[in-house]
Point group: C2
Chain length 272, copies 2
């Protein structure tokens, strides 16, 4: 259970989640997972920009950055390392899908311990599951980190072997989209390919950052559809998210993947 | 806002929704909307059977009927007419998609006033919007009333004209699936067709009941894919849900639909 002082609802330590909250009723909201370093949100401008964009995609007015930062300062003390999760929902509603005419968004910021990642994930790379659960094509929600995440939940329930750190998810056409909690890049020569997320998947901010810093690694970014068979022919593969940066993929199910230090180079670039 | 004594969380009037509840975090749960007549849940066996099946579809162990009925008796008094909403979530979780090894489902039962439906909806029929938002194909969740309902929310936000009581939703291939809050039937001669819900949509219990009682109306049930153009050539169309039973469709956008009293006959059959 969360400690009492480890979450804030609408800026208060004493508020509770309404049983009428539309986040609970319909997954009617969005979220972010943010690395907290020395009490501060890492990559805050990118996270906030994405939060605003994701809210806009489902017609929620995102709380102001000032409000969220005021919450933040109540919750995190200077020097603290942690993980923050921000959930924004459409707030309370009547019964029924139609939002109330005046809805005040609900904001929940929670504090979690930073995961204790195995050192080998950074030095040696990781093994992945290939998920049987596929992602449905919904252009209106593609790329958006909404609270409708049952596909990721079903996919994550497919394996319990701790040696598998994540699972590759495909769309209904067999194209590679992402992992359950990470985006994915495949290097072919000097081309760094990441899946097109126009029909499904979440366009994470670390993916966006890697796309922007690729030229500094002498790599050309290409966003395109890619089958699983194509993925397996990559020179190397990395997965990324906001908490660990990037990990080298060594194995997907029984398929060994080549590696040549891309994750290490990407992590170094992400730090600068 | 809900009154304090109008909802029960895990059988208690004093519990609150955990900020770690996976229903809020991921829409990781299912729900039912039930008509309460004289304090009792109408069609309870069918609702409970569907609740168990929907929970099973996402690997949640549904609370027992005894537990839910014990909650029910705390919340509803004899003779009371109302609407009940039951939400079952996977309960609290750590951060991350993987459910905790030991998870106790959360149950929330809420009481709402019965909607004040216009009498004309029953006597004259209803006009429908045609939704631009389409339903994504996800066979693992098709038919299941999960808390991942952003498509319905986006669809319901498309219109505000009160004369339109619901909106027809299509899948990505242009097949008719359902309305945002209702299932749909189209009569062609003595054939009563309702869309196949193997890829998306919610298979409601009133739909199920109408399928079973069709022979008593001298109609043959046919579950199949049906384009919107096909739908418009129907001899008549009805929509149905657990609260109002069935309504005759008179108009979808600018398309007038023929009518010959099917909804009245179906409502009578549903009452027996």
């Amino acid at each position: 259970m969360l400690q009492h002082n480890s979450y804030l609802i609408n800026g208060s330590f004493n508020q509770v989640i309404s049983p009428l909250d539309r986040g609970l009723a319909y997954g009617d909201g969005v979220f972010r997972t943010i690395k907290v370093v020395a009490g501060l949100p890492e990559q805050w401008p990118a996270h906030y920009q994405k939060l605003v964009a994701d809210c806009a995609a489902i017609n929620i007015v995102c709380p102001s950055a000032e409000l969220l930062m005021s919450d933040w300062q109540q919750l995190f003390s200077a020097g603290e390392d942690a993980v923050a999760k921000i959930i924004i929902t459409r707030g309370e509603g009547e019964r029924g899908y139609k939002p109330s005419a005046i809805t005040a968004p609900m904001r929940l910021i929670s504090k979690f311990a930073m995961p204790n990642y195995a050192k080998a994930n950074f030095s040696d790379g990781v093994h992945l599951h290939l998920c049987e659960t596929r992602l449905a094509a919904q252009p209106k929600l593609a790329g958006v980190k909404t609270l409708n995440r049952l596909e990721n939940v079903l996919a994550r329930m497919e394996w319990s072997n701790h040696a598998l750190v994540d699972g590759v998810m495909l769309d209904m056409n067999g194209n590679v989209i992402e992992c359950t909690s990470a985006n994915i890049f495949a290097r072919f020569g000097d081309a760094l390919i990441t899946p097109k997320l126009d029909l499904c998947g979440i366009a994470g901010i670390t993916r966006q950052r890697i796309m922007m810093l690729a030229p500094s690694l002498s790599l050309k970014i290409d966003v395109q559809h890619m089958s699983f068979a194509q993925l397996l022919t990559a020179d190397e593969i990395i997965i990324c998210n906001s908490l660990y940066g990037a990990w080298q993929v060594r194995c997907i199910q029984e398929n060994t993947i080549q590696s040549n230090g891309l994750a290490t180079a990407v992590r170094a670039a992400l730090r600068t």
